[in-house]
Amino acid sequence: MSNSLLHPSPPPYSDREQHSVANHLGMWTFLATEILFFGGLFACYSVYRWFSPEAFAVGSAHLEFWIGTVNTGVLLTSSLSMAFADLVVKTNSRRAVQWCLIATWLLGALFVALKFYEYYLVTREHHVPGAHFHFEGAYAPQVELFMFLYFAMTGLHAAHMLFGLGAIAWLLRLNYRGRLSAEHDAPVAMVALYWHYVDCVWLFLYPLLYLAR
């Protein structure tokens, strides 16, 4: 299709159906990789939680519970609007696709903003691991370890969110130029799969970090 204009080597597909299933399998394989990527961090979390459960409860109590909870709702809602985008693109309704994507983007941005606000609050409390870490109370070293895991896990997740926001902006651009349609819906399906995956990661992070009292 469009590739053949860009490069002499044509895409290796014989028809659109084959292309579509290949795209899906590729995306799912990528998500399998991503699961193992986060999996290393989840393994670290599990081991250290087992080592010092009390410190993890203390550390968890010092996070902003309301931010974590609100963010969970925000992100789940963004997945809903993303799912709608994936549905309405099949009806060739450019306007509806646009609003669904904008809603998803805004909710995602709200999530990231709240997350960074929480980082700011943690920084103000001197709970950032490293030379300036300061914590009054028992288990201070292990709380520092918990905070390190908190930053590593949510930081990696936030990086994925930012990448997703970029991908949705790209979809909006495609849609604006009329490049999304029922025949050409693969970009939406791919980004949606990714977005739902990032959402799922948060559904594990939220209880592990905020509810583990």
Partner: protein, 550 residues
């Protein structure tokens, strides 16, 4: 099985109207921006040969240092940096990419009758990621090197080492994503782009082994990536998850590292097994004995590979119970490995064998891999492992598998598919002699190391007691011969690329779709999509008794 569309008969001469992939365009950008899997395979060939050379020079310097018991050529600091360069470059910039990125990229689409891999742009991106990772690593070497060993064990790598760990870890991290991209591409390609009629049961065994390899690439590499990221974060912030000061556990690093790095060993050996299956069948003129079992054993090795990482940590204070379980699971890996060796042997049995160069390498593989594998069983045994941990016995064991196994298979594969890659034939006798020199040089280098290790010579030291000198001199002498064995193909293959005799589409009279198209392959691989009607290796015994045109 006997009537076939893929019969080893001379295919029609290439039509001059269709340019082959080498001639289609000569500009530099047509290479650097190519989406053609064949050209990307060649880009990888040049790149990994470059990294192999640097790593080999590091090894040569180590072997020269070890000629004498005293440390007279390099200091211990330099020696540490040398074995780290050797390990990091050989593992991540040669062995892991070797067969998958060069031969896999080149022949997988040809073997399954596809026009390209599933995601050509991702394929090109993977090469750029690989080069970026390589540049980070080269920078780290030029800036002074790293002294942690290729395993980056914490807390040394995260806290105490004063060398350029971050740049090298970043290099390996980036190269890891190149591996993931390649694995992902192969999985989708093998699932979705097979020619009509090419069912799973008809796939060549090289495809099966690449499929198993790709699964490991996709599932194990991200764990290495996150682990190295954590080490880098710990170095940057001075605090991290492996830091004992805050209750972290440096041993957790070893668990995560080997969760990747043991499966990585199978990333390195499985593709080699695939090449051996192809060449044994082609030069014994017989279908591979027990096709389904050999294909299944690749998947079994991939699956079991994820369950045995603890055998690298027998002396690391992990619990005795864990040690026993990991020991038993490690024994299990020997079953599918042995299945393969027996199948190859049975394939050779009563075959019409012709000792062309690729077969010589394959036979070398079988013998050396068997020694490497059996000593692996010894090392999986707890008491023996405790005795020889961190000695040259371990070095010899994994070099028998990695160099004796994988590099032999890589060389065999390069020779086997060279006519398809270059369209030319190398000089057969020169190549046979080089294969023989490699085999002799290899054994002379590494067999003495088994004895040295068993006698107690520890790895990673640049000095040693007087009584180990004789065997070390032997080993260094062997390394020089081995070096010659690697230099020769570099020269005569390069020569043949420009001056060799024209190969024709199918110089070996082999089955397989890749031999159905012209040599070098046309830009789009096949003029018409081939249709497959039979299983692989449908060699006709009568046709096979004819000698191979050479």
């Amino acid at each position: 099985m006997s009537t076939i569309a893929t019969a080893p008969e001379p295919a029609p001469a290439p039509r001059s109207a269709v340019p082959n992939y080498l001639e289609s365009d000569h500009t530099v950008s047509s290479w650097l921006l190519t989406l053609d899997h064949k050209r990307i395979g060649l880009l990888y060939l040049f790149s990994i040969t470059f990294f192999f050379t640097i790593a080999a020079v590091a090894a040569a310097l180590m072997r020269i240092e070890l000629l004498t018991p005293a440390g007279d050529l390099v200091s211990s600091e330099t020696y540490n940096r040398l074995f780290t360069i050797h390990g990091v470059l050989m593992v991540w910039f040669f062995l892991i990419p070797s067969i998958p990125t060069v031969l896999g990229n080149f022949v997988i689409p040809l073997m399954i009758g596809a026009r390209d891999v599933a995601f050509p742009r991702l394929n090109l991106a993977s090469w750029y990621l690989f080069i970026t990772g390589g540049l980070f690593t080269l920078y780290s070497i030029l800036a002074g090197g790293v002294d942690t060993g290729w395993t980056f064990y914490t807390p040394y790598s995260s806290t105490y080492s004063n060398s350029h760990v971050m740049a090298m870890a970043a290099g390996v991290f980036v190269a890891g994503f190149s591996s993931i991209a390649t694995g992902l591409n192969f999985i989708v390609t093998i699932h979705k782009l097979r020619a009509p009629g090419l069912t799973w049961g008809r796939l060549p065994l090289f495809i099966w082994s690449m499929y198993a390899t790709s699964i490991i690439l996709v599932l194990a590499t991200p764990v290495l990536a996150i682990t190295l990221l954590l080490v880098v974060l710990e170095r940057v912030f001075g605090v991290g998850v492996f830091d004992p000061k805050i209750g972290g556990d440096p041993l957790l690093f070893q668990h995560l590292f080997w969760f990747y790095s043991h499966p990585a060993v199978y990333i390195m050996i499985l593709p080699g097994m695939g090449v051996v299956s192809e060449t044994i069948a082609a030069f014994a003129r017989k279908p591979v004995f027990g096709y389904k079992v050999v294909a299944g054993s690749s998947l079994a090795i991939a699956a079991l590979g994820f369950l045995v990482w603890g055998h690298h940590m027998f002396v690391s204070s992990q619990s005795v119970f864990a040690g026993v379980v990991f020991s038993l699971l490690s024994f299990l890996v020997s079953v599918p490995s042995a299945v393969k060796v027996f199948s190859w042997t049975a394939t050779l049995h009563r075959g019409s064998i012709s000792f062309e160069t690729p077969l010589l390498y394959a036979l070398g593989f079988i013998g050396l891999f068997t020694i490497g594998g059996l000593t692996g069983v010894m090392l999986a045994t707890l008491p023996i492992d405790v005795h020889v941990t961190d000695t040259y016995f371990v070095i010899a064991h994994f070099h028998y598998v990695m160099v004796g196994g994988m590099v032999m298979a890589y060389m065999g594969g390069i020779h086997y598919w060279w006519p398809k890659i270059s369209g030319r034939l190398y000089h057969e006798w020169t190549a046979r002699i080089a294969a023989l020199i490699t085999f002799v040089g290899f054994n002379l280098t590494f067999f003495p190391q088994f004895i040295l290790g068993y006698a107690g010579m520890p790895r990673r030291y640049h000095v040693y007691p007087q009584e180990f000198q004789a065997l070390n001199v032997l080993s260094t002498a062997g390394a020089s011969i081995l070096g010659l064995g690697y230099l020769m193909p570099l020269l005569y293959l390069t020569w043949s690329f420009f001056r060799g005799r024209r190969a024709g589409p199918n110089p070996w009279g082999a089955t397989g779709l890749e031999w159905q198209t012209a040599s070098p392959a046309p830009e789009h691989n096949f003029e018409e999509t081939p249709v497959v009607t039979t299983g692989p290796y449908a060699y006709d015994q009568v046709a096979g008794s004819q000698s191979i045109p050479s």
